[in-house]
């Protein structure tokens, strides 16, 4: 499987080179991250960001971070295709609202807990006083 990820003259080209219809060299920057089994991944990324931009981004990040960078680009590209207006920012907005909702609920529950605890403390202290 690793050999298919690192395309050379004898193996099949990577998804990027297949899409771009060019020869996949041994030092192809896309090859490790766009296997030929996932053609849609590169197609989406190319459609939104363009191959040259992706190549520049990959060259700017460290080699051990390139896989993460490609995966995040693929995620953003897919999100933008699904939602051309908001893209992945829509998901961020939804998550942010969810966090705020949970925060409010947590605050209310904590207030209830404090009220409950204070009432319980008041009752038991009164009981303790009566007991001597």
């Amino acid at each position: 499987m690793s050999s298919s990820s690192y395309s050379n003259y004898t193996n099949s080209p990577c998804a990027a080179c297949k899409f771009l219809r060019r020869k996949c060299s041994s030092d192809c920057v896309f090859a490790p991250y766009f296997p030929p089994e996932e053609p849609l991944k590169f197609a989406n990324v190319h459609r939104i960001f363009g191959a040259s931009n992706v190549s520049k981004i990959l060259h700017e990040v460290a080699p051990h971070q390139r896989e993460d960078a490609v995966n995040s680009l693929a995620y953003e590209a897919e999100a933008r295709l699904k939602d051309p207006v908001y893209g992945c920012v829509g998901a961020i907005s939804v998550l942010q609202r969810e966090v705020l909702r949970l925060q409010r609920e947590l605050e209310e529950t904590n207030n209830d807990l404090m009220r409950y605890a204070s009432c319980l403390g008041g009752e038991t202290s009164a009981y303790g006083g009566r007991r001597g």
């Binding site: 960001f49 520049k56 893209g87 992945c88 998550l95």
Partner: protein, 346 residues
């Protein structure tokens, strides 16, 4: 006068024409938003900015960085294509999201918006776990109060009959914590908890969170999402996940002080009072923790905020509290049982 006017008319008209031309040029430049007249997009591309330039409304000339980020990630052709496929009403919103996405990518070239998404998902998980713990504790108190009420009634009815009372206490009816100690402890949130492995697939893009080179993307969320009608109340966020942790740690010590106390209710009240006191003491610590959580959403170039946050979570709730919390229920039970088996209830 009229002769002078007649002589100078050609020159005057030329001057007037030039004046008018200059005025119109100034007006044109003003309308275009700058002395050069071109939007940031056309400036960057070094081309004439047409009157119907589609990018001009979104990229003012005085903010070149915005367009640079967008150009770097999307490219002009892609943006124009996206805009062409949208309605007029949708275009401003789309451009806002594109600008935001590009800004985030500029701040964090590796993870981009996915990093923010993962961070928010983590925060949701934290809040949900905290909510579960608080709800469980609330239920515990409710059960305890019900038991206490029924216990009080029994004591009044039975009176000074020690044998009956101790027998019922031995059954654990007066010790509300018994009912819910089947799992030994109240499940407190810990970032190193058992549930975390389930979250790992979602956190796969943040595997390097614990690495020093992780660079979270804080700032843009608060500023830009505000324009998306998202709430800007991040400064008010408080996840009091530490309240009950510290409270239950001190319960262990406090139980020893109540050894000579013959009343189950006294133990309960002291536990509650202690927790309330410790909650107040921990507010400052919590505020500091939550400030660290929110730092990655502030417009501050802080590359370690998220790692510090994770460290705070791990150190404050996971590492230092795990063992004491596990032992509290068992020790508490033992001490309470000791109280009632060896001493009489007055």
């Amino acid at each position: 006068m009229s002769q002078i006017k007649t002589i100078h008319n050609p020159i005057g008209s030329l001057e007037r024409f030039l004046d008018l031309l200059l005025i119109s040029l100034i007006v044109y430049m003003t309308l275009k938003g700058g002395t050069s007249g071109a939007c940031a997009a056309c400036k960057y591309q070094r081309r004439r900015c047409a009157a119907d330039c589609p990018l001009a409304p979104y990229f003012p000339a005085e903010q070149p960085k915005l367009f640079q980020n967008v150009h770097r990630l999307f490219g002009v052709r892609s943006i124009v294509k996206i805009l062409e496929n949208l309605d007029e009403v949708q275009r401003p919103e789309a451009m806002k999201s594109i600008i935001f996405q590009s800004y985030v990518r500029d701040r964090n070239p590796v993870h981009g918006c996915l990093g923010i998404t993962q961070q928010l998902q983590y925060m949701i998980w934290v809040a949900e776990e905290e909510l579960k713990a608080v709800n469980l504790q609330l239920q515990l108190y409710r059960n305890g109060q019900n038991h206490a009420n029924s216990h009080n009634m029994m004591i009044h009815e039975i009176g000074e009959k020690q044998e009956d009372l101790t027998s019922q206490l031995d059954l654990g009816m007066g010790l509300p914590v018994n009912a819910n100690q089947g799992n030994n402890t109240i499940p407190f949130f810990s970032p190193v908890s058992e549930t975390q492995p389930q979250q790992q697939p979602q956190m796969s893009y943040c595997n390097d969170v614990n690495n020093n080179d992780y660079n979270p993307t804080p700032d843009s969320c608060k500023e830009i999402l505000n324009n998306h009608n998202a709430s800007s109340a991040w400064g008010q966020n408080q996840f009091p996940f530490n309240h009950h942790n510290y409270g239950f740690i001190n319960q262990n010590e406090h139980c020893s002080e109540t050894k000579n106390n013959n009343s189950v209710m006294a133990i309960q009240s002291q536990l509650v009072n202690l927790q309330m006191a410790s909650n107040k003491q921990e507010e400052e610590v919590d505020a500091q923790n939550y400030d660290e959580i929110h730092q990655f959403l502030e417009i501050i170039d802080d590359s370690q905020s998220f790692t510090e946050t994770k460290e705070v979570y791990a150190s404050s709730s996971g590492e230092s509290l795990k063992e004491p919390i596990d032992e509290i229920g068992e020790k508490e039970l033992r001490r309470a049982a000791t109280c009632f088996s060896l001493t009489s209830v007055n």
